[in-house]
Symmetry: C2
Subunit: 347 residues, 2 copies
């Protein structure tokens, strides 16, 4: 996947906005159609080492896209429709943008049960309404039997960047606190358990949720947040590795601080899967300046979506680009990036 993105897409579609490779693109909308080219990405200076600077002040919107191919379509705690809204809303939130507008595009296999489609659309409507993002444009394509597996959904989103907050890997400093806003691996494990018909007594429930109501008000209130990312594909381990690589610092996390439910722990042991590597869709990693760690943690915990939040570790000068785990038995180990995609169609 990494290869595909770097060697194929970036090389051929090269432009400074795409090259940032964030989950959302930062774009501006101040030019007016009659200011030809002045705002086109191609007319901006190309990245050229350290001298290159983006006209950051102009960028007031975030733009993102995601396709959803989860299987099964329904699982405890969610379904493809809920996921399609949450995933795109959360990508915008991680960019520090309040979600405003969503597009919605279905690819539907001919003969799909109408009541299932109705269920999915209901779920989309409810989730979007909760998140204050509105679905303003859409598309439907129907393909013949066996040309797709039931239904795929794409949502793209536009969010408004919260004023004076530009979250960036470059803002991260040693001693910054690393907060995880909720239980790890809850979403991915719920989908996997359902797919494998795992009997764990009570089913594991996905915590899939739109995080704008948790994080946008907080972001408006405090300048203490340096960076946010949602640990989706590859789980917390992969996200922390991306962060430490991106900011050129080390990260150390405490195993006994990691919020993991008993059920997820049990399922992980049964399936031989480490919750650190399992995809999430209802939690965020929030990096906060050192002195505000406890205050931000307390604010998160006051919201039901953040009541399991934990400070799980901090940024360090040592081990640049590495993630270190202090285990509960007192040893240390390196937490590697996931190199292959072990669990397709979790989102």
């Amino acid at each position: 996947m990494h290869e595909l993105i770097r060697n194929l897409l970036l090389k051929k579609l090269n432009n400074p906005i795409l090259n940032e490779l964030g989950d959302s693109a930062f774009i501006d909308t101040f030019g007016g159609a009659d200011t030809p080219l002045s705002v086109s990405p191609y007319s901006r200076p190309r990245p050229s080492g350290r001298g290159y600077r983006r006209a950051d002040y102009r960028q007031n919107l975030a733009f993102t896209t995601d396709s959803f191919v989860v299987s099964p379509l329904r699982f405890p705690g969610g379904d493809i429709g809920k996921l399609a809204v949450c995933g795109t809303v959360n990508d915008l939130v991680m960019a520090g943008a309040a979600p405003e507008y969503l597009s919605l595009a279905f690819i539907i296999e001919e003969g799909l049960d109408y009541s299932l489609l109705e269920y999915i659309v209901d779920s989309i409507a409810i989730t979007a309404r909760k998140s204050r993002a509105a679905i303003v444009t859409g598309d439907i394509k129907v393909v013949e039997k066996n040309a797709c597996d039931k239904i795929f959904i794409n949502t793209s989103g536009i969010g408004r960047i919260v004023k004076n907050r530009r979250l960036s890997l470059k803002n991260i400093r040693p001693k910054d606190k690393i907060i995880v806003t909720g239980n790890l691996a809850q979403h991915g494990m719920a989908v996997l358990a359902k797919r494998k018909d795992l009997d764990l007594g009570l089913p594991i429930k996905s915590d899939c949720a739109a995080l704008d109501n948790l994080l946008i008000p907080l972001l408006k209130k405090t300048a203490a947040i340096r960076f946010m990312r949602d640990p989706t594909r590859g789980g917390l381990a992969t996200t922390l590795n991306e962060i430490s690589e991106g900011c050129g610092l080390g990260i150390v996390i405490e195993e006994k601080k990691l919020p993991i439910s008993q059920q997820v722990r049990a399922a992980g042991e049964l399936l031989g899967l480490d919750p650190l590597y399992i995809a999430n869709e209802g939690i965020a990693v929030v990096i906060v300046e050192p002195k505000s760690g406890d205050r931000v943690l307390a604010a998160l915990r006051r919201n039901p979506l953040g009541r399991k939040a934990q400070i799980v570790g901090e940024v360090i000068k040592e081990f640049p680009g590495r993630v270190i785990l202090n285990t509960s038995i007192g040893t240390q180990r390196i937490v590697d990036m996931l190199t292959s995609e072990p669990l397709p169609r979790i989102c």
Copy 2:
């Protein structure tokens, strides 16, 4: 499809922007994230009969989405990648918006030939660069064998509405001229002929093209354009029916004025398909105030993309909601809307 959109999506996702049902949504970006709710679609007055008015002056952007599932993936004159850029660019242009930013999302079947993927990405890059739209964000999902037919692409787009031009069905008046900017059915027939391995001597070439360079400069120069739409699914017949229904007026077109190539005519006869109902992706229907018809036609023809442009008919007071064809043998007939989708996966 109509049922699905009206009964399921509009009912459940109801909001004033979506309810307009244009190919693009008109959105605004002036609020700033710190103007809570004032710009959310939900806080705008709900449609309530005649009293409802949108705050039109605020809307400076158009937002659109489209998924592409064409089969075969390559055809004379184009491929799914070119189509994915042109389709979304053209939806923005039809809204009177200069395309600026595109998202790009792939759903790829495991094992897809890498050289094919490379070909498609090249095609996307070339087409986007020609159209001045930049791909700024993306997503890739890989699904297992047989979970999708090779590759599907979604593109969403943001365009900046040309100042002081608000194209709308409501602007259309009797005697307005109806211009078609190029040969009919060229794209759809090219895909069909390729799919059916039709031997017509020379292959029919799709005219699939991004129309921003043809239409945006024109739109900036003249206020004579009332409305534009690209006759994609269901062809010119369906688009004209939608227009006449939408504006509550009649439309009369002259069969002998319709630009149709000899090859497309021949293929249509072979396959028993009327070019009026075949999808296009390189032409637009442009509705122009009566006195400017010839001037706009001449301007279009000066551009290679518009050199086959024709005034094919006009808007009339009679037959509201109907499209009338004056045939080349001197008779008149009603051109109905297409009721079922006869040709899936043309785009």
